[in-house]
């Protein structure tokens, strides 16, 4: 399967389940609203009836932020860092929960989204732990690359080689994290499709797949990333260009940016059906057998190995195995 075909297949699949895009958008927006609401509540308490707010409407005042921190006895003593950490943790749990439904519907082709959320939650949680370790390894590799640069040029006085090397190290770090992220996606999809609990095995299998077919898999990941960047960059450019000098202008920009957020959510979700299509296409039929056998030993539900020319397992028009 070509990258374009995988993306086309993914888009087709996602178009059939647009409600997931809306659901994810709604959840993300609700969470963002709660977080923004708390932050704006703090601002409103301080500035709602202060002339400083009008002065800050044109250009934000970093002095005000500093005052706020000082009033709480310092940044670490202020309640916000803990609140932000707690909020991020809460969202991570929520994200994993919803991801279970996403891979269940957009990857495995089953219909019950929320059953997938529950069924896959702990599997994805375990997968996240393994992926976290893989991320640390990727960063360690990037760190080692940095160390090599310092060994070679560290005692020199010229900045340029080390700066070039620093860019290379950054590329290694980002590339490593991207590979881990792609492996996470493929592993999550495989676990959902196979209905398997074996997260480490799925992750290692995903790495093997990326290693064996890097152009197709990572090429697809890069193409999907580019698509994701389109609404993100569009939103950024529009935000920088638009002057919010009236309530009406604020409202118009709000609508435009929500469209960008919706597009970003769609582009993000596209990763799963597109990569599922690619994963499926790249699977040799015989490779499913050992994993399925092991799952059977472990007492898991054993999916039938799909025949090479059988309709994809996630195709809702085909009978489910």
């Amino acid at each position: 399967m070509t990258i374009a075909n995988a993306m086309r297949e993914g888009a087709r699949r996602l178009a059939a389940e647009l409600w997931i895009v809306l659901l994810l958008y709604a959840v993300t927006t609700a969470f963002a609203l709660a977080a923004a609401g708390m932050a704006i509540g703090i601002a409103a308490a301080s500035l709602a009836h202060s002339t400083l707010a009008a002065k800050m409407a044109g250009s934000f005042d970093i002095e005000w932020v500093s005052e706020l921190i000082a009033a709480h006895g310092g940044l670490l003593a202020a309640p916000w860092p803990a609140a932000i950490v707690a909020g991020c943790a809460l969202f991570a749990v929520l994200y994993l929960f919803l991801l279970g439904g996403v891979v269940e519907v957009l990857g495995a082709g089953r219909r019950d989204f929320f059953a997938g959320c529950g069924k896959n939650f702990w599997r994805l949680a375990r997968l996240s732990v393994w992926s976290g370790i893989a991320c640390v390894l990727a960063l360690a590799v990037a760190g080692a690359v940095g160390g090599i640069g310092r060994k070679i040029w560290g005692n020199g006085s010229e900045a340029a080689p080390l700066i070039y090397w620093g860019w290379f190290r950054l590329a290694v770090a980002l590339g490593g994290l991207a590979v881990v992220n792609a492996a996470f996606d493929y592993a999550a999809l495989r676990m959902a499709i196979d209905d398997s609990r074996r997260s480490l095995r799925a992750l290692l299998g995903a790495f093997r797949l990326l290693l064996r077919r890097p152009v197709r898999t990572l090429g697809l990941y890069a193409a999907l990333t580019l698509i994701l960047l389109v609404p993100v960059l569009a939103g950024f450019v529009i935000s920088r260009a638009a002057a919010q000098t009236s309530i009406a202008a604020v409202a118009v920009l709000f609508v435009v940016r929500q469209a960008a957020v919706l597009a970003k959510t769609w582009a993000w979700l596209l990763f799963f059906p597109a990569q599922a299509a690619m994963w499926k296409a790249l699977q040799p039929a015989q490779e499913m057998a050992p994993a399925a056998a092991e799952d059977a030993i472990a007492g898991a539900e054993v999916p039938l190995p799909p025949a090479e020319d059988a309709p994809p397992a996630w195709d809702t028009e085909a009978p489910l195995p």
């Binding site: 993300t28 927006t29 969470f31 963002a32 609203l33 923004a36 704006i40 601002a43 409103a44 301080s46 500035l47 709602a48 009836h49 202060s50 002339t51 400083l52 707010a53 009008a54 800050m56 409407a57 250009s59 934000f60 005042d61 970093i62 002095e63 005000w64 932020v65 500093s66 005052e67 921190i69 000082a70 009033a71 006895g73 310092g74 969202f91 994200y95 005692n155 020199g156 006085s157 010229e158 900045a159 340029a160 080390l162 700066i163 860019w167 993100v232 939103g235 935000s239 920088r240 919010q244 309530i247 604020v250 920009l253 709000f254 940016r257 929500q258 960008a260 957020v261 970003k264 993000w268």
Partner: protein, 691 residues
């Protein structure tokens, strides 16, 4: 030779080589040093002839010296204990210690004092600190007398850390020779009796020394490019040994440092006031100072830039920043009196040597790809500013760091604002200016300084020994930003012309002297003609904070009041029906409403500062009140024909020391536009960050 004859001969050593022009300083010391750099082992071997003149009425039987480099000799020094081996984001190397050994010290044509050297630790209980030595003299130095010492020393440079050291073949050689302390006679600065002022080297202190003459010969490999304090007198090459000796000479300075690297790109340019300074700028400054423009004439200065070759593209920016600094410091405070200023650009990996000041030599620091606004201009302006506040006005950096760093923060800010205006936040990644890209607000010096100042935490007064602040962060705030804000507040309170004259007087009176905070307070009071003791007591010598706020605001329409009234000897009762009737009648006749306005202002801070209140009504009328700010609160009441629109304390934002400017005002209308804009922005950014 008799003792008086010797004293005369020694005093002659203190005379300038090109004697003729009147000395700018009292020239207590004279150093003649021959030093040789050995890059193979990173050492400087020196032969120092020091002449010290006893300018006190005391008979001095002991000399004290700084051995600053010993701060880096091991982890037991006070500097390393206090800093934990880290300073200004730089970490001391564990495999390259720095030290200075005095191999021999003797009186010229006299006794050997080497055996009499003992280590002192006057500031703390750290007997392991080796940064101060004392030497008992066999014969004391009489008042007005002088003594010449012959000192052999070896300085081992550490890897660049805390302003000094080597990085590969780059050398920034500072605090590198045995340097005599300052003998303060009774009445000098805070001295009650005559005593040496010779502190240990701490993580949060810099330097203090007497003025004098430096005649230094530096021998380095011929491939090295050298820059140093003062004016180069000669360069003598020894072709056989591939070494060159450079001789530098400078009068009326209190330190000497130098740098050497085979890679420096040496560029020179002349600061030409006729080209660099616009007549309108001279005229404007002259008006501000109340002086004739001729008083502000600036001399030419030779600017020497020692740049890393890969930073060649930054030369113009560096020269321009230097020119701006020479111009504005010269116009505002007084002309730069030295012939040269050398700006050193340390290489990549040696940033610990950057951003430092020595007489006529400063270190900046730029990047291979610095982006359009990396703050490098500010570093250049700031370090040049130290030629005034530290270099010429020789305050004690150990004990009153605000007098150099704080004054310089204030002055640097003014130069930057005058020369560069509002600027992007100096945030960048890989040369990409993040401030501009992300649309972060632009800032000026007041915003930057005040944003940090408000974190000062009331732990310390501004004036405190450098090593005694609550922590290094508070040392930084109290030495740099808080003084910057308080001097700016003082300027706003007294007016720009008065402050300009104060700063000019401060420079002109105390250049080449060692003034104190008290001297500055006296200068302020005298030049401004106002007693500002209350200001200094609270904000320089105290820890109190200013915070005024609008406590409450009420604005009620005055309607017809119910009740029983005695009118013309008979009782009239205004009932609700009667009141309704009167109101309707007023409405019909379009009688303007009257409003009762009550405003309460509150002093939350401990400190007192007179403030102004400005009230604006819906019809545009404004009311201003002056409050001495002493009581905890004050109430103003008015009857006005329009609704209240805004109340502002300190509407011109003069009192930058106020800890919370957001509560200084009240507006009757809710700020819907900014709140909705921020809400929309924040919501969007969170949505975009979340998957």
């Amino acid at each position: 030779m008799s003792s008086s004859g010797r004293a005369l001969a020694l005093a002659a050593l203190l005379l300038p080589a090109g004697a003729g022009a009147a000395p700018l300083s009292n020239r207590i010391v004279s150093y003649r040093i021959q030093a040789q750099l050995d890059p193979a082992i990173h050492t400087v071997t020196g032969h120092e002839t020091l002449t010290w003149r006893n300018d006190s009425p005391d008979t001095v039987g002991e000399l004290r010296f700084h051995l600053y480099l010993n701060a880096f000799q091991n982890e037991k020094s006070s500097f390393m204990r206090e800093s934990g081996g880290q300073l200004r984001g730089d970490r001391a190397s564990k495999d390259s210690w720095g030290w200075i050994d005095v191999k021999r010290m003797r009186i010229v044509d006299g006794a050997d004092l080497t055996g009499a050297i003992r280590y002192l630790h006057p500031d703390d209980d750290n007997a392991d600190d080796r940064t101060v030595i004392a030497v008992a003299l066999p014969r004391p130095v009489a008042p007005g007398g002088a003594i010449a010492l012959d000192i052999l020393f070896v300085s081992r440079m550490p890897k660049v850390f805390a302003r000094t050291g080597y990085h590969n073949d780059f050398y920034m050689v500072g605090q590198w020779f045995p340097k005599i302390g300052v003998y303060e006679k009774a009445g000098d600065r805070y001295a009650k009796t005559g005593a040496w002022n010779c502190h240990q080297f701490h993580a949060t202190t810099e330097f203090f020394a007497d003025y004098g003459v430096y005649d230094v010969s530096l021998t380095v490999p011929s491939s090295y490019v050298v820059g140093a304090t003062g004016v180069r007198q000669s360069a003598v090459q020894d072709a056989q040994h591939h070494i060159t000796t450079y001789r530098y000479y400078q009068e009326d300075v209190h330190d000497f440092s130098w740098t050497a690297s085979p890679h420096f790109l040496a560029m020179e340019r002349e600061f030409d006031p006729a080209r660099a300074v616009k007549p309108a700028e001279v005229a404007q400054t002259a008006r501000l100072l109340g002086r004739p423009p001729a008083d502000l004439a600036l001399p030419r200065v030779r600017m020497i830039l020692l740049l890393q070759p890969e930073h060649r593209g930054q030369a113009e920016r560096q020269f321009r920043a230097l020119e701006n600094a020479i111009q504005w410091f010269g116009l505002w405070y007084g002309a730069y009196p030295y012939q040269t200023i050398t700006l050193v650009d340390p290489p990549y990996g040696a940033s610990g040597a950057g951003g430092m000041e020595y007489p006529t030599l400063i270190t900046g620091g730029t990047n291979w790809w610095p982006g359009p606004n990396d703050g490098s201009e500010e570093v250049v302006v700031h370090e040049f500013g130290h030629q005034y506040w530290y270099g010429m006005v020789g305050t004690n950096e150990f004990e009153e760091s605000w007098l150099d760093e704080g004054f310089n923060t204030y002055s640097t800010g003014k130069v930057m604002d005058a020369a560069y205006g509002m600027r992007d936040l100096p945030l960048s990644a890989f040369g990409i200016p993040l401030g501009r890209l992300l649309g972060l607000p632009q800032v000026d010096s007041d915003i930057i300084n005040r944003s940090v100042y408000v974190q000062y935490g009331k732990y310390d007064p501004v004036v405190r020994n450098g090593w005694q602040y609550y922590d290094q962060f508070r040392y930084g705030i109290n030495s740099y930003m808080r003084p910057g804000v308080l001097l700016r507040t003082l300027e706003n309170h007294l007016g720009a012309p008065a402050m300009a004259r104060i700063m000019r007087a401060w420079f002109e009176r105390y250049r080449f002297h060692h003034p104190t905070s008290i001297d500055f307070e006296r200068t302020v009071n005298e030049v401004s003609g106002r007693d500002m003791t209350w200001f200094f007591d609270q904000f320089v010598f105290g820890t109190n904070a200013v915070n005024y706020r609008v406590g409450s605001v009420a604005c009620d329409r005055i309607g017809t009041m119910l009740g029983s009234y005695l009118e013309n000897g008979r009782r009239v009762t205004v009932t609700e029906e009667e009141a309704d009737r009167i109101e309707k009648e007023r409405e019909r006749k379009h009688t303007p409403d009257q409003y009762h306005i009550a405003v309460k202002l509150v002093r939350d801070g401990e400190a007192v500062f007179p403030v102004e209140m400005k009230m604006t009504l819906a019809n545009g009328e404004t009311v201003r009140e002056q409050w001495d700010g002493r009581d905890r609160w004050v109430k103003y009441e008015y009857t006005k024909p329009a609704r209240l629109k805004t109340v502002e304390i300190d509407p011109e934002r003069k009192v930058l020391l106020d800890m919370n400017l957001a509560d200084n005002s009240y507006t009757a209308e809710t700020a819907w536009l900014p709140l909705s804009k921020w809400s929309s922005n924040l919501l969007y950014w969170i949505q975009m960050v979340l998957p």
